[in-house]
């Protein structure tokens, strides 16, 4: 096949567009990173674009020196780990039995679970229920009510379906029960898919704040995003320093940039490692359950 001149030009035009998009995705982050590392005076003079001006780590030192902020980071990290473990356990427990054709009542269980995806009771009924079962303002409210996502369960189930049934049959012939088969065959073969779903759950918890906003009124249990929201929406630096306990006012802009970076960096660190896994996760989830 001969490549004509026009297709070559076309290739470059397309590459140009893509480059523009890459630029568009990165600029906001680079700009805020630069702001967080710049001096307050440079920010006031509007000098900061993509590189820090008057480089200093003052804002980071301030944030890390604030116990309220470091506690929130640690608490959110802990919460994320716990939630991911609980959610993954629940997801596997739910998805695995449903892959058995022999399971009597499978249709019932499937309908029972999928229905909740299309009709939900709504925010207020959930709130009232949590109130009645004493979960309101209890740290567990950030773990349990959202610990199983039907969507992720369907992805997990599709992955399990992809494991050849003959493996299960031979395990059963050797006398292994369902639990043994799960532990020694299904789980070891599902590494990438488990990683994908763990990523989805972990990112969801790290980024989530609506449940804390609605069901939790103790500030010490606020996840990092909610704290960040309060910092970003306090108008003046005095408000920042008094409300959120920062000792030194006058740095509010760099401080805001630094707090944004703190909430972002953990995600940016984990993301490239898991990127190769999640694509298959998304595409499988899109296929009919």
């Amino acid at each position: 096949m001969i490549k004509t001149k026009t297709t070559k030009i076309g290739d470059w035009v397309i590459a140009g567009f893509c480059l523009l998009l890459v630029f568009l995705c990165l600029t906001p982050l680079l700009n805020v990173l630069a702001r967080s590392l710049s001096s307050a005076e440079a920010l006031v003079r509007n000098e900061v674009i993509l590189l820090p001006v008057g480089f200093n780590l003052g804002a980071y030192r301030l944030v890390l020196g604030d116990p309220k902020y470091t506690w929130s980071l640690a608490w959110t990290a802990m919460l994320t780990v716990i939630c991911t473990l609980v959610s993954m356990t629940m997801t596997v427990l739910c998805a695995y039995p449903l892959t058995y054709d022999q399971l009597k009542g499978r249709r019932f269980f499937n309908t029972y679970i999928i229905l909740t995806m299309y009709f939900s009771a709504g925010t207020i009924p959930t709130y009232l229920l949590l109130k009645d079962i004493r979960l309101l303002n209890n740290p567990l409210v950030l773990v349990i009510p959202s610990c199983l996502s039907v969507f992720n369960m369907i992805i997990m189930r599709s992955f399990f379906y992809g494991i050849p049934e003959s493996l299960r049959e031979s395990a059963e012939l050797d006398g292994a029960g369902p639990i043994r088969t799960l532990v020694s065959i299904y789980l070891p073969l599902s590494g990438p898919s488990l990683a994908t779903l763990a990523l989805f759950y972990a990112v969801g918890r790290w980024n989530g704040f609506a449940d804390a906003l609605m069901f939790m009124n103790k500030r010490e249990y606020f996840p990092i995003q909610l704290l960040l929201y309060n910092i970003l929406n306090s108008v003046t630096s005095v408000e920042v320093s008094t409300q959120e306990g920062f000792s030194s006012p006058g740095l509010s802009e760099t401080l805001k940039a630094a707090t944004v970076m703190f909430a972002t960096v953990p995600i940016l660190v984990v993301y490239p490692w898991l990127q190769r896994y999640f694509i298959s996760g998304v595409t499988i989830g899109a296929v009919k359950g």
Partner: protein, 319 residues
């Protein structure tokens, strides 16, 4: 132990034996399912009992069953909701923002997927994909933080850049009309790349011989996109379009809540934020439950209707 039990049963009939065998083998599956089933019962089904308060006079000391029925055959709160100005605006804004998302946001991943598919430099394609997927993993609070800094009227990067061309500062986040544009743009920014994954996957299912045959017949790039690539994407596009249409009255909470401010509340209040403000903050439980129920029911109807429509057009639908 189980075998002994089986032996003790006096000559079970064929069916009974089979059943016993089945339970012996698979009862653990039910054990595994127990926790998830209980979870769904408590956290997804039992809240539905509280929907009843939409038709009742709420009282904090009585149980849902004991509360007296509301006026107008129980529909008092629905009537109240629809005569409530704030709810009317929330409903209007929900539909408006979702429609704009659909019109402006839906085609973007398709276009980007086509671009990526045509990209000739494989390494660059991988890097581009990695970077355009990334914004999807940022929370709306972080994005609002980025937006507040970038779009600030005097100190934001965008307005500084515009100022170099002599443009007056644009109030991207502080004026209702501009806010709507920014809201839609940020949604596209976050999810355009992510949305391409599913289209790119669909593209791998297209037979490469089709492209070769088209080249032999002298088809150019656009001709191939129009006659091969787009028809290959058609089923995916339609299914996703249905799901989005079904969500026209659905409302996310994080995005409007993170981006709103007092200057733009006339366009930023949607149903989910209305329920939060008036329900959890304002403790008007009956009214907001009625609103939530209205929303859930309409969503289900829309989804069923959109699905029926798709099946009429000969697509397989979402079930």
């Amino acid at each position: 132990m189980d075998a002994m039990l089986g032996a003790q049963t006096a000559r079970p009939s064929g069916k009974g034996k089979k059943f016993l065998n089945y339970t012996q083998r698979y009862w653990t599956l039910y054990l595994l399912l127990l926790l998830p089933v209980v979870y769904f019962f408590i956290f997804r089904y039992s809240p539905m009992a509280y929907i009843l308060i939409a038709f009742k006079k709420y009282s904090i000391v009585q149980s849902v069953w004991e509360m007296p029925w509301a006026a107008n055959n129980g529909f008092e709160h629905f009537i109240k909701a629809f005569s409530n100005r704030d709810f009317f605006y929330a409903l209007r804004n929900t539909i408006m923002l979702n429609m704009l998302d659909l019109v402006a946001g839906f085609p973007m991943p398709v276009i980007l997927a086509l671009l990526l598919n045509e990209l000739a430099f494989k390494r660059f394609k991988r890097v581009t994909q990695t970077i355009v997927y990334m914004p999807h993993f940022l929370s709306w609070i972080i994005i609002s933080g980025l937006a507040l800094q970038l779009f600030a009227p005097t100190s934001g990067l965008v307005n500084i850049a515009l100022g170099k061309f002599g443009v007056e500062p644009v109030p991207f986040l502080n004026d209702p009309a501009h806010w709507v544009g920014t809201y839609i743009f940020l949604g596209i920014w976050r999810d355009m790349g992510w949305g391409t994954i599913i289209y790119l996957a669909a593209l791998t299912g297209i037979n490469p011989e089709l492209y070769e045959a088209a080249s032999v017949d002298g088809a150019g790039r656009f001709r191939k996109i129009w006659n091969i690539t787009l028809p290959g994407l058609r089923p995916t596009i339609i299914v996703l379009l249905i799901m989005n249409l079904g969500r026209v009255l659905g409302s996310e909470f994080d995005r409007p809540y993170a981006l709103k401010n007092n200057l733009v509340s006339s366009v930023s209040n949607v149903i989910s934020t209305f329920v939060y403000t008036n329900g959890i903050r304002g403790q008007q439980f009956s009214l907001t439950t009625a609103v939530g129920l209205f929303q859930s029911v309409v969503c289900v109807i829309f989804l069923l209707a959109a699905n029926a429509l798709a099946e009429k057009f000969g697509e397989r639908g979402i079930w």
